[in-house]
Amino acid sequence: MSALIHKEYPVEMADYDHAGEASADIKRQLKQLGVPASVLRRVSVASYEVELNLVIHSEGGVLTLEVTPEAVRLISADRGPGIPDVDLAMREGWSTASETARSLGFGAGMGLPNMKRNADDFNITSKVGEGTTIDMGFRLA
C-alpha cells in the first residue's frame, strides 16, 4: 500500500542550529495520528539519532517519513562520504565523530546500534564516494 503520509526533511551537514527539528516534527505528526506510545518512543529515539547522524557524519541528505496503516518508515539518504566498513560502523562505541561533535556530547558510537535496536526492520547500504542509505521500519499492526 502506498504511503498516506510522505514528508521529506532536508538535513544539512554540520547544521547544529536546526539539528533535531526534523525529528521533532516527525514526533508531532505521529502523536497526531495517535501512534501507540511504545512505537512512538522507538521512532523518537531512532529519528533523532538518524537526523543527528546526517548532521555529524554526512555531507547532507534527506530524511523521509512515510506512514501507512501497517508501519512507520524512516529513510535517511545522504550524499556522502559513505562508510568504508559497515560492519565496523555498526559496533557499539565505534565512532568517527569530529572534535566539534564530541565537544557537543555526540560521537559515543551508539548511533547506529541504537537505531537498529529501536527499529523492527533495519537496513543500511553504503558506498564510499556515493553515500549511505538507512531504511528503518516500525510495525503498527
Binding site: 498516506l4 514526533k27 495520528l33 495517535g34 506510545a37 512512538l40 501507512t68
Partner: protein, 437 residues
C-alpha cells in the same frame, strides 16, 4: 475521544474577555481558541497550568477554589499549608508563627504538607533503588507536568514515579492523627489544602493516579493571604506551633527542593513550563538516560511562582532559602532519617490507578482516517502564510489547519487568505470593467 466532562479549576469569565490573543499564544497545549470574539478553553486539552491566568490583562481567566467560608460545612477542619505559603511573608523567620496564624483563621488543626513531602521523599528514595524502572524517573509532584506528559508526551508515562503528591500523603496523616486525638470520624473532618495553583485544585477534584483524593478541597493562597497577613504580627511566642517537617520538606516550595531531599547527584530540576517541554523532548529522544531523576515544575521558581501566590516569586524563593537554612541549623536530619519505615508503610504513598495517556491531540480514533486528516492538514499548512498571528482564533497556522480538518474552522477565516482572495477579485473586476470599455 473521552466524552465525559472533565473538571477544571481554570475557567473563563465571559463578561471580562475581550477576545484578544494573549492567552491563545501562551497556552502550552494549544487548548484555547478565540471564536466569536471570546476565548474558549478546550476541556480535553487544558492541563490547568494557569499560564492564561498570568497573561490575561483583563482578568478574564480565573481559578475556581473554595473560599474560607466553605470550611464551616465541616464540624472539624484542618488546614494543609503548601510549603510555598511560608515564602509569602517577608521577614517572618519562623514557620511556627505562620502555622499559628493560619490556625486562628478557624481551623482546628494545621498539618504541614512539608511533612507529607518528607514521607514522599523517602518513598521516592525507595523507588530509586529499583533498577528495572526507566531512567530518568520523573517526579509526580507537579500535577501540571503530569498532565502535560499525558497530553504531549504520552510515551513518557512509564517514567513517572508512582508515588502520590505530598498533599495527598499529608491529608491522610492529618486526618488519621486528628481522629485519633479527638475521637471523631474521618468524614467529620474537612481537610483543606492552601494552594499556590489551580492544578492542585483540579488534582483534588479529578485525582491523578488515584481513585480518590484524601484532600477535601483547596483554598487559594491569594485569598488566605489577605486574612493571614494582619494576624502574623499578633502571634505571641507561646502561641507558636511546632513545625513537624524537616528543613528538606520546606525546600519543596522552590525548584530543586525535591531533588535535594532525595540526594540525587545526577538529576535535573527544571522550572517554567516551556523549559520543562524542552527537557521532556530530550528525555523522549533518550538523550538524558544517564540521569536518575527529573523534577519538573510548571511555574518559574517552583511552587512559589504559582499563579495563586501573592509575593513575587524571587522574593519568595529567597524567604524560603532563609527558612530552610534556619530550620537546618536547628536540626539537620534528612527525610530518610526522619521518616521511619513504619510511618512509610502506615499510609498509602503509592498510586492505586494507572496514569492514562490523554488522546486530545489525536486527529481521529481510526488510524487510517487520522492519516487522511493529517495528509489534508499538511496540504493546508503548505498553503497558509505561516505568520502564526492568531487572527483566525487558532494559536498557529498549524493548529488552524488542524481545526479546519476537524471541521471547527474554515479557510476563509484566515485574514491573509481572505485579503489575497479580495485582491484577486478586485483585479478581476478591474479587468472586467476594462474589457467593457
Amino acid at each position: 475521544m473521552d466524552s465525559k466532562p472533565r473538571y477544571h479549576s481554570v475557567r473563563l469569565d465571559k463578561e471580562l474577555c475581550k477576545g484578544c490573543t494573549n492567552c491563545l499564544m501562551h497556552c502550552p497545549t494549544e487548548a484555547i481558541r478565540v471564536r466569536k470574539g471570546r476565548a474558549h478553553i478546550l476541556d480535553e486539552r487544558c492541563i490547568d497550568c494557569g499560564e492564561c491566568i498570568r497573561i490575561c490583562d483583563y482578568h478574564a481567566k480565573v481559578a475556581i477554589t473554595d473560599s474560607l467560608e466553605d470550611i464551616k460545612l465541616f464540624p472539624y477542619k484542618i488546614a494543609l499549608p503548601a510549603p510555598s505559603l511560608y515564602g509569602q511573608f517577608r521577614g517572618v523567620a519562623d514557620v511556627g508563627v505562620i502555622l499559628a496564624a493560619l490556625k486562628r483563621l478557624g481551623f482546628d488543626d494545621v498539618f504541614e504538607v512539608a511533612r507529607g513531602a518528607d514521607v514522599v521523599a523517602r518513598a521516592i528514595s525507595e523507588k530509586l533503588r529499583e533498577p528495572s524502572l526507566p531512567r530518568p524517573l520523573i517526579s509526580s509532584a507537579c500535577p501540571t507536568v503530569v498532565r502535560l506528559i499525558q497530553v504531549r508526551f504520552p510515551d513518557l508515562i512509564p517514567h513517572i514515579v508512582d508515588v502520590r503528591q505530598p498533599m495527598e500523603v499529608a491529608a491522610q496523616i492529618a486526618r488519621a492523627e486528628f481522629c485519633k486525638a479527638h475521637d471523631c470520624r474521618p468524614e467529620q473532618v474537612g481537610v483543606f489544602f492552601i494552594t499556590p495553583c489551580p492544578a492542585k485544585m483540579t488534582a483534588i477534584a479529578s485525582p491523578l493516579g488515584q481513585r480518590t483524593s484524601a484532600v477535601t478541597s483547596a483554598i487559594s493562597m491569594m485569598e488566605i493571604y489577605g486574612h493571614l497577613r494582619p494576624l502574623i504580627s499578633k502571634i505571641q511566642a507561646e502561641e507558636k506551633l511546632h513545625p513537624s517537617s524537616t528543613s528538606y520538606g520546606i525546600g519543596w516550595a522552590t525548584s530543586s527542593g525535591e531533588t535535594q531531599s532525595i540526594f540525587q547527584e545526577n538529576a535535573l530540576s527544571v522550572d517554567g513550563i516551556q523549559n520543562c517541554i524542552r527537557v521532556l523532548e530530550e528525555i523522549e529522544n533518550n538523550k538524558l538516560s544517564d540521569l536518575t531523576f527529573f523534577e519538573g515544575n510548571a511555574c518559574t521558581g517552583g511552587c512559589v511562582g504559582g499563579p495563586l501566590t501573592f509575593e513575587n516569586n524571587y522574593v519568595a524563593k529567597n524567604s524560603i532559602r532563609k527558612l530552610v537554612a534556619a530550620a537546618r541549623a536547628r536540626c539537620d536530619s534528612t527525610p530518610q532519617q526522619s521518616v521511619t519505615a513504619a510511618e512509610l508503610n502506615k499510609y498509602a504513598t503509592r498510586m492505586d490507578k494507572p496514569i492514562e495517556p490523554n488522546t486530545a491531540m489525536k486527529l481521529d480514533d481510526n488510524l487510517t482516517v487520522a492519516m487522511q486528516k493529517l495528509q489534508r492538514m499538511n496540504e493546508i499548512i503548505a498553503d497558509l502564510p505561516g505568520y502564526d498571528c492568531g487572527s483566525c482564533g487558532s494559536p498557529t497556522c498549524r493548529s488552524f489547519a488542524e481545526d479546519i480538518v476537524l471541521g471547527y474552522a474554515n479557510e476563509m477565516e484566515c485574514i491573509h487568505k481572505m485579503r489575497d482572495k479580495l485582491q484577486t477579485m478586485a483585479e478581476q473586476m478591474v479587468e472586467l470593467a476594462q474589457t467593457r470599455r
